[in-house]
Subunit: 216 residues, 2 copies
DNA sequence: CAGATAATTAATAGAGCTATTAAATAAATA
DNA sequence: TATTTATTTAATAGCTCTATTAATTATCTG
């Protein structure tokens, strides 16, 4: 209200500004707790403008996240840098997975939150995730079985191994607000902490499946 | 409307019925997505009745969860069955932790969800969690350091070890809707799955810190 | 049974939210 | 510059939700 000029200077493309702000707010509070009114307030524009550009709150959300959800999940699959050494395969899966998450630290929470609180609306995405996970598992399964047969890795299903990686990589991000509070972390400190934790995750996942000798 | 008698027979104590139903709905959808209207509908009573007994939605929520949040967290601390053997200490911590979670499978999601989407409202609870975690960590710290010094456990902070346990125990519950969908689990199958996974979690946590010899 | 108290409901105020519409303003174009 | 088109706003309809109130019905108690 006070400063139209400031807004103009900043925006130049209001549509994009709305997208930027909306992404932040959705990631911060989830779909249900986010109102178009609040997005407008943060952008500094009229609430109707959001509907002018995106018709509905749902379309805005979809524009931002539909692709992102799927690409986020499938990014894990794509990272199959084959290596002679199974240990290195595991390591590279964990690391590229961690890398993707660190670029979208709030996305895991959003996905889980939306799937949980509104499963019907996200059935389509859930279906895609299902496919992606399926192909990831079959991709790693043969290699894993070989290692088990060779006695280098203990008996474990590829799904359990997959869950170990997901759990250890994702949990800290999902519980980020709690962890930050418990440890008095600023945002930067939290990022530092997750970086340090990467090695911890690998040691745990690998130590949890390897048989003796090759732990280090 | 159609059957007052049926309702009377079932309820006998409507206040308690409201509490039961409300707990289910809150756990299912979170605070924001739950309306007193829906609770009333599921109970089969008038919406005003909920306010008659509990004044506000917030009071109802607090009555159900304030204690539960804290006791849930602190339950982990209390389970310090001292053992001569550190491996057994770790095992008993993991197992009692898993046991508590399996009795409140949706609570972890609710806690994280409310802390994330409305941190201000839950600052008090977050504070209590902080204290609890603090005492848990200091409780295990000396023992852990002894093991490391003795060369039986690799170098690891008690917080990292704590996070490993939390991550592996909690993630499957937090992501339950997704996991159930990906694997086509019914509720019973999911429960069975988590039971089987308990041993997996121990093997991973312990294998992730122990040094060689004592893996089995 | 009568009167009092408790439980329940219908009705509705009031707030916030999404989405639409019509009017106003800015930008583009001929 | 005049006219058309795009952007932005104010106003508001319509919905859902929380909470309150007043009236109704059931239960208890002397």
């Amino acid at each position: 209200m006070a400063n139209k000029k400031v807004r103009r200077e900043k925006s130049e493309n209001v549509e994009q500004m709305i997208l930027n702000v909306a992404e932040d707010v959705f990631l911060e509070k989830g779909y249900a707790m986010t109102s178009t009114t609040e997005i407008a307030k943060r952008v500094g524009c009229n609430q109707a403008l959001i509907h002018y550009y995106f018709r509905t709150k749902e379309r805005l959300f979809e524009k931002l996240f539909e692709k992102k959800f799927v690409s986020f999940i499938s990014a894990v699959v794509l990272s199959k840098e084959r290596s002679v050494n199974f240990r290195d395969v595991v390591r590279s899966i964990i690391e590229s997975h961690a890398e993707i998450i660190s670029q979208n630290p709030r996305l895991p929470f959003l996905i889980i939150n939306e799937m949980t609180t509104n499963p019907v609306r996200f059935r389509v995405i859930a279906e895609k995730i299902k496919d992606t996970v399926g192909s990831l598992l079959s991709g790693i399964d043969t290699e894993l079985k070989k290692e088990i047969a060779a006695g280098r890795v203990r008996e474990i299903s590829s799904f359990d191994l997959f869950l170990n990686i997901l759990s250890l990589n994702l949990f800290v991000y999902i519980a980020q607000p709690l962890i930050s509070h418990v440890r008095d972390y600023s945002f930067e400190e939290f990022v530092k902490f997750t970086k340090k934790r990467n090695e911890e995750v690998f040691l745990t996942v690998w130590g949890g499946i390897c048989i003796k000798e090759n732990i280090l």
